[in-house]
């Protein structure tokens, strides 16, 4: 029984199932030399060019970077840095069309070359034996090397798997039609590639090293066979059949082993690298040059001079096509990669990236566009061609019906998307696109599942947190109440005495009350007056505490203009009172009297007027409440009204405070007197005056607006769906906007409040359209 390597040496290779023999069309781009095109005007370097995650951008717009300078740094093992392909200035860090089938913009660094090609300081490794494999792997990672064959898997991760490597296979098969980039690499740079292989051998310590080259590249084969004659590297010619260059297929051809479903090549004891990757490793270790350029085949009937070029990463595709001269036959298609596995480009500005091995510019009619697809006739030609032994027509069937579970039952994820099935399909169905679509759908569904699970965890964590917080709050309350209890007990009889005294006082009062009703008017009035005085004192006290908050209101009331506002408010309040005590006719008269007197007073002494109005209001209200159905008290109230003006001028502060109280009360009343047409009228009048004042005094205007808004809001709530109030709100919005240019912050706040209110009103209006109609009628 011969070992695997002996079999390979004897040329006894295996076969992979299926496969196709498409027309190679490689000869058109094979040349004896590589010409590098001129520097493009601008390089668009995508931040992520491999399969993994993007690194962190380290440069800023306007920075000058040297050739080979890292532009991003990797923060984890999935990251790979990208480097400046030439020296120049960073023009932009923005989104640019990416090298992806979607053609969607991706984060990209735009570099404007200065043409100096100035290299960064490089540190080549002279002697491998002095350097540990770990350091070499780190250097390879820092050079940004990913697999250049097509998948773009980070090379350092393949190298650091830690598994014993039986076979190190260097893939020079390049089975896809049109592409000759690897062929060119092998023919022109055999020493460098072999040096790269030796570095890989040093790192991986494989038992056997094999270079596999398809027999349709005789030149490359002979060059390599000569170069590896006396080394431990074995060059093997393998028969041409697409897709022999696929990793799993090549392993099968050479070793007869199959990579298990869902497994990696390492599971078969194989690690595989592309020849271009070997060259890049050699450049990185021996010359300290990071991966900034690669060989790209520009081919197809759409260009006059199909050829291979050294293209800087980030070179826009149109630059390369122009270099190869577009021909007259050129169609509007462009393919990145080969005709079997490549993808159509959406834009000419798409940059060359690490995985770009070919730009195919087909002529008219050169490629099948997939527009002539017909129904599947169940011929099963695709099943015969499939190298992974899948049932493509079944997969197609279920993918089309969006039965994702069924596609997985047919091992969709073992599909390598080689396109052999679509190539043989007599109905020209773009089968691979269905599979790609299905794979993406399944992946995104899985991702959604994970997200749902994550959201559930967060939701539960939040609920637990809320529960904890609630418990903590209750515990705190409990402790506080216990503390209070203890304190009370500690004070003992003293506290109890106090409580007893308070209770006694309350009782005495209660007894007093019923009696007082029958008492004569004189004593009654005096008690009422006392009560009012006490209440006033209390209010004043409370008010002084909240004076700070009411500052705006105070400021506004110092102005003559404010007097008018105050008067208006007073009127409104009086009206409210009238409603509150509506059953008491006398008190209503009283209130109207106050209203009528205020305007006449205000021109003479604004301040006083305000004060008077406020106090009067307060009292009227109190009386109305306290002595409702008591005629005597109303008389008394009018007396107070007449006396208070003389007191008020003495104390400005009090006056302001009173005004504030009055306002507060008005609000309360407005709430109480819900669905009252009068109150809404008052609000309207207020709202109307507010805009007219605003040009005179911005600050006041704002304050006034705020007050008006507040009231409008209350009304809106009370008399829900009142259209007039909605008008008010909009009026307020208009006035505030005029102020905004002068004081942005306040204006924004005001606008926000106004919006909030408008929203609420809108809601109310929506909720009760019928009520709105009746309200309108009443107005």
């Amino acid at each position: 029984m011969l070992s695997i390597i002996e079999k390979i040496k004897k040329g006894r290779l295996h076969q992979f199932p299926g496969g196709v023999h498409p027309e190679g069309r490689k000869a058109i781009s094979v040349g004896s030399e590589i010409i590098s095109p001129d520097l493009p005007e601008c390089l668009y370097i995508p931040v992520k060019q491999h399969s993994g995650t993007a690194g962190k951008v380290m440069v800023n717009i306007g920075d000058y970077v040297l050739k080979g300078q890292p532009l991003t740094e990797s923060t984890n093992t999935n990251d790979l840095p990208v480097h400046a392909p030439t020296s120049g200035h960073i023009q932009a860090i923005d989104n640019h069309v990416g090298a992806h089938p979607s053609g969607l913009p991706e984060p990209t660094i735009a570099l404007r070359p200065d043409g100096k090609e100035q290299w960064i300081d490089r540190t080549p490794i002279d002697d491998l034996s002095n350097v540990s494999p770990t350091k070499l792997i780190r250097l390879i990672s820092e050079a940004g090397i990913s697999g250049l064959g097509g998948a773009g898997f980070p090379t350092h991760r393949k190298l650091s798997s830690g598994k014993a490597v039986e076979f190190l296979i260097i893939n020079g098969v390049e089975c896809e039609p049109y592409i000759t980039a690897d062929d060119t690499m092998m023919r022109l740079y055999p020493e460098q590639v072999i040096r790269g292989i030796q570095i890989l051998q040093y790192i991986l310590q494989p038992q056997h090293t094999i270079v596999a080259i398809e027999d349709n590249k005789p030149d490359a084969l002979s060059v390599f066979q000569a170069a590896t004659k006396n080394s431990d590297i074995l060059t093997v010619s393998i028969p041409t059949k697409y897709p022999a260059g696929g990793e799993k297929q090549l392993i099968q051809v050479l070793t007869g082993r199959e990579v298990p479903s869902g497994g990696l090549s390492m599971d078969a004891g194989v690690t595989m690298f592309n020849v271009g990757t070997c060259y890049a490793i050699e450049q990185a270790i021996d010359h300290g040059k990071p991966l900034t350029e690669r060989i790209v085949t520009i081919t197809g009937e759409g260009v006059n001079h199909p050829q291979n070029v050294w293209a800087l990463l980030g070179t826009p595709v149109y630059h390369l096509i122009n270099h190869a001269e577009p021909s007259k036959k050129r169609s509007n298609q462009m393919v990145m990669g080969g005709p079997m596995m490549g993808f159509a480009l959406k834009s000419e500005k798409t940059p060359v990236v690490k995985i770009t091995n070919c730009i195919l510019v087909p002529g008219e009619g050169e490629l099948n566009t997939g527009e002539d697809a017909r129904e599947c006739i169940r011929c099963s030609a695709c099943a015969d061609a499939c190298p992974a032994q899948l049932l493509p027509q079944q997969l197609y069937w279920h993918a089309k019906a969006q039965e994702w579970q069924k596609t997985q039952d047919y091992h969709l994820f073992d599909c390598i998307e080689c396109g052999a099935c679509a190539y043989v399909c007599p109905s020209e169905i773009p089968l691979v696109q269905y599979y790609r679509n299905a794979k993406q759908e399944i992946r995104s569904q899985e991702e959604e599942k994970l997200q749902a699970e994550h959201a559930k965890q967060r939701f539960e964590a939040r609920n637990q947190r809320l529960e904890r917080e609630k418990e903590a709050r209750l515990e705190k309350q409990r402790l506080a109440s216990e503390k209070r209890k203890q304190a009370m007990e500690a004070n003992g009889s003293d506290a109890k005495d106090k409580i007893a005294a308070a209770l006694a006082r309350v009782k005495a009062k209660q007894q007093d009350k019923p009696a007082s009703l029958e008492e004569n008017s004189a004593s009654n009035t005096s008690r009422v007056a006392d009560a009012i005085a006490r209440a006033k004192a209390k209010k004043l006290e409370q008010q002084t505490k909240t004076v700070a908050e009411q500052k705006d209101a105070n400021e506004s009331s110092q102005d003559p203009n404010k007097a008018r506002v105050a008067a208006a408010i007073a009127r409104a309040k009086a009206k409210k009172q009238a409603q509150a005590v509506s059953s008491d006719e006398l008190s209503t008269d009283n209130a109207s009297a106050i209203v009528s007197t205020i305007p006449s007073v205000s021109p003479e002494d604004e301040k006083k007027a305000r004060v008077a109005a406020a106090i009067a209001k307060a009292k009227a209200k109190k009386q109305a409440q306290a002595a409702s159905s008591d005629e005597l008290s109303t008389d008394n109230a009018s007396a107070i009204v007449s006396t208070t003006p003389s007191v008020s001028p003495e104390d400005e502060k009090k006056a302001r405070v009173a005004a504030a109280i009055a306002k507060a009360k008005a609000k309360k009343q407005a709430q109480a007197a819900s669905s009252d047409a009068l109150s809404s009228d008052a609000a309207q009048s207020r709202a109307k005056t507010a805009p007219s004042r605003s040009p005179e005094d911005e600050k006041k205007a704002r304050v006034a607006a705020a007050i008006a808004k507040a009231k409008a809001k209350k009304q809106a709530q009370a008399a829900s769906s009142d259209e007039s109030s909605t008008d008010n709100a909009s009026a307020i919005v208009s006035t505030t906007s005029s102020v905004s240019s002068e004081d942005e912050k306040k204006a924004r706040v005001a606008a926000a409040i106004a919006k909030a209110k408008a929203k609420k009103q809108g809601k109310n209006a929506d909720n009760k359209p019928t009520q709105g109609n009746t309200q309108e009628g009443s107005e």
Binding site: S102, E106, S444, A455, K456, R458
Partner: protein, 180 residues
Amino acid sequence: MSAFLIISLLALIFGLILGFAAIKFKVESDPLVEQLDAILPQTQCGQCGYPGCRPYAEAIANGDDINKCPPGGEATVKELADLMGVEPKPLDEDAITEKRVAYIREDECIGCTKCIQACPVDAIIGAAKHMHTVITSECTGCDLCVEPCPVDCIDMLPVEETSRNWRWKFDQSIPVVEIK
């Protein structure tokens, strides 16, 4: 007499076995609810009328309709129908099933924290009187923060299409061509 004894003995033995099995293989909670909950999208949006996905799962297990979950879309309804053994129903309304996330217009935010309190998955960060923002990756697009915002500065925007979440879009139907 012996027959009576044998039957009684057998009844006793089987009773013991059953009793033991009932204790040994006791099911902690309704496994159906767990399965239903796993199907639901866990947006915790409450559009079904229940406070979260699990309560709705419990309601379905108790016989509620399976078509009350707009975020899950038709796919979820189908899965629920399969599990419950009922016919799939169309969704309640023309609900938006497109995936969306909340976005706060930050210069308009007044820092009221109302949206933070509404968010079922703690995906909004911010403090009182400071601007808030949405952690897009955590947002389930449940809409619950939109309503409480007093200044309407929260928009529900469709998730931006990137090359990561992009899907091949091609006409799934193949035109029938008549062969002459």
